[in-house]
């Protein structure tokens, strides 16, 4: 039986100060041109937490406003904040930076995250108040450090600072003196991915009431590499996350394919469940520190706030067919093959047109296509355009080329079948997977009858190949498989066995 999507959670973590610590755009500029106008302007362009709570794309991400309602809101969204917006939504929440540092400390197994002692004591009750953490979670925490001690770690031992509104409240230490894979910068990056995922998996478990003991396998799908200098991408984020979420019956591993990682993860989870290897598989992705402020040079230049201040996460459980939840049509996975080619047309042909044709479906049979879902307010000022719109236009153009949509109706097709972008530019995070939660809800309440999720990845960034990558899959309502009345399976089995035996005897002789 086809596997189902049992539930999904989505959280965003506010990290404005981390733009200047973990973000690669700021870090490289600081090395090359430490007195540039950009470097000077960044602190004054960082957003306050109330501004990210009222920001439309963030509200959509946590499930408070459906993506198709976004065109009703006036742009720029960062100037037209939603009044009385709440940081909690049906899918998850927006987490302030002080609590991000709290879960960073919680995710640290090697005494690398050091927090100032008063700050550490202040955030414990706030974390408990979320309902996701208990007192025993903090049992291993030693007393926090003095500011002087933290400062010394930064000045003399290459630790990375943790600032809150520009004030030092902690640091992340390196895990080895010489190993480049264990320096503080890398440890911060990996701990951010782990910690934010831990929070979101706990949110998933709390929201859904799903028994953590029922999860048998974890697939982690970020773009980070965890290891030491002898095995820089050895892993395993998945088990390190599960360990802190009570997933005691699970094992797991990390799947990598740049931004397409989550789509590969969903496909692998579906296959593992459908073949009966595991009953429930968690697919998870934490946030990316290096991508914070990635396009901020252009945002600053254009007088905008730095919008890439959110770490994105998701947690989805794929499980055995329960007769209720939407199914993943594993027979019609779309894939970008090695021989496909790199043109946008070839990519979409492989990911959309080919699986649709194989399934006997027309382009119009899919209610919503969810490819790259980047927030256009982030990408347009940087010259990258409206990425989801470009993808939807290519899908519509293919539909026209195949004679399924009249050319004059291309624009209408994009409006009717597209999904506006709302995800932060966090690489693997916007790549189709944010819409899985809406697809599940929309199919369960009858709004959609079919959704296609499309994940694409830029393999060429690793400088091993010029190839592109992508995986797509279709989500549909669960149609209960009913046995026709009056058929006795045992009788049929026995009839077939007897017939085969007879044939074998006749052949013998």
């Amino acid at each position: 039986m086809l596997p189902v999507i049992k539930g999904a959670a989505y959280c965003l973590f506010h990290g404005p100060d981390l733009v200047m610590v973990s973000g690669t755009t700021y870090r490289t500029e600081r090395i090359q041109n430490p007195n540039s106008d950009y470097i000077k302007a960044v602190p004054s362009r960082l957003r306050k937490f109330q501004d990210v709570v009222g920001y439309l794309p963030n509200q959509v991400y946590i499930g408070n406003i459906w993506p198709e309602d976004m065109p009703k809101y006036t742009r720029p969204w960062y100037e037209n904040l939603i009044p009385d917006a709440k940081p909690q939504g049906p899918f998850g929440e927006l987490v302030p930076q002080n609590l991000l540092y709290g879960v960073l400390k919680l995710a640290d197994s090697f005494d690398l995250v050091v927090l100032e002692k008063d700050f550490q004591e202040r955030i414990k009750p706030e974390m408990v108040a979320t309902g996701l953490f208990q007192e025993q979670d903090f049992a291993k925490w030693k007393e926090g450090a003095s500011l002087e001690a933290i400062q010394k770690e930064i000045e003399t031992a290459h630790a990375e600072p943790l600032n809150l509104d520009g004030q030092l409240v902690g640091c992340v230490r390196r895990a080895h003196e010489l190993d480049p894979a264990l320096q503080a910068e890398v440890m911060l990056e990996n701990l951010l991915a782990k910690a934010t995922a831990v929070w979101t998996v706990r949110r998933f478990l709390k929201n859904t009431g799903f028994d953590p003991k029922e999860i048998e396998y974890i697939i982690e799908t970020t773009e980070e590499a965890c290891g030491d200098m002898n095995q820089r991408g050895g892993g395993n984020f998945a088990k390190s996350i599960g360990e802190l979420c009570g997933l005691v019956n699970a094992t797991g591993s990390d799947i990598r394919s740049f931004c397409a990682g989550p789509a590969h993860g969903m496909m692998a989870a579906a296959a593992l469940v459908q073949t009966g290897v595991f009953k429930n598989v968690l697919v998870v992705g934490g946030g990316s520190g290096p991508k914070l402020g990635m396009n901020s040079r252009d945002h600053v230049k254009k007088g905008m706030p730095i919008l890439e201040d959110m770490l994105g996460t998701f947690a989805i459980v794929v499980g055995e067919n329960d007769g209720v939840n939407p199914v993943i049509r594993t027979e019609f996975i779309g894939r970008h093959k090695i021989g496909t080619g790199a043109t946008p047309q070839a990519v979409m042909e492989a990911l959309v047109a080919e699986p649709l044709a194989r399934a006997g479906l027309k382009f119009g049979d899919v209610d919503r296509y969810a490819p790259e879902l980047q927030n256009p307010e982030i990408t347009e000022p940087a010259g990258a355009g409206n990425v989801p719109l470009a993808n939807h236009k290519m899908i519509a153009a293919l539909a026209v080329m195949k004679g399924q949509v009249p050319k004059a109706e291309m624009e209408a097709f994009v409006q009717a079948h597209g999904v506006p972008g709302y995800a932060p530019t966090q690489g693997h995070i916007p790549s189709g997977v944010p819409f899985v939660g809406y697809a599940r809800e929309g199919i369960l309440n009858g709004k959609y009858k079919r959704v296609m999720i499309i994940g694409k990845g830029s393999l060429f960034l690793g400088r091993l190949t010029n190839l592109f990558d992508g995986i797509s899959f279709i989500i549909e309502p669960n149609i209960k498989e009913t046995k026709p009345e009056g058929i006795d399976e045992e009788a049929i089995r026995s009839l077939v066995a007897n017939t085969l035996r007879k044939v074998a005897e006749e052949l013998k002789g």
């Binding site: 931004c259 990635m294 396009n295 790199a342 043109t343 946008p344 790259e372 980047q374 990408t379 940087a382 990258a384 355009g385 990425v387 470009a390 993808n391 530019t425 690489g427 916007p430 694409k456 830029s458 060429f460 960034l461 010029n466 592109f468």
Partner: protein, 44 residues
């Protein structure tokens, strides 16, 4: 405006969700240009 690329040296920066570098490379090569650098960038 027609662009004569014959014999010209070309640097290509492709866009991941627009036209990637290998596709531009094929086009400019067919127009007689010499590609001296080609890469696709990604800022998403």
């Amino acid at each position: 405006m027609a662009l004569d690329l014959k014999g010209k040296k070309v640097i290509i920066i492709g866009d991941r969700d627009g036209v990637p570098a290998p596709a531009i490379e094929e086009a400019v090569k067919s127009a007689g240009a010499e590609v001296i650098f080609s890469a696709t960038e990604c800022f998403v």
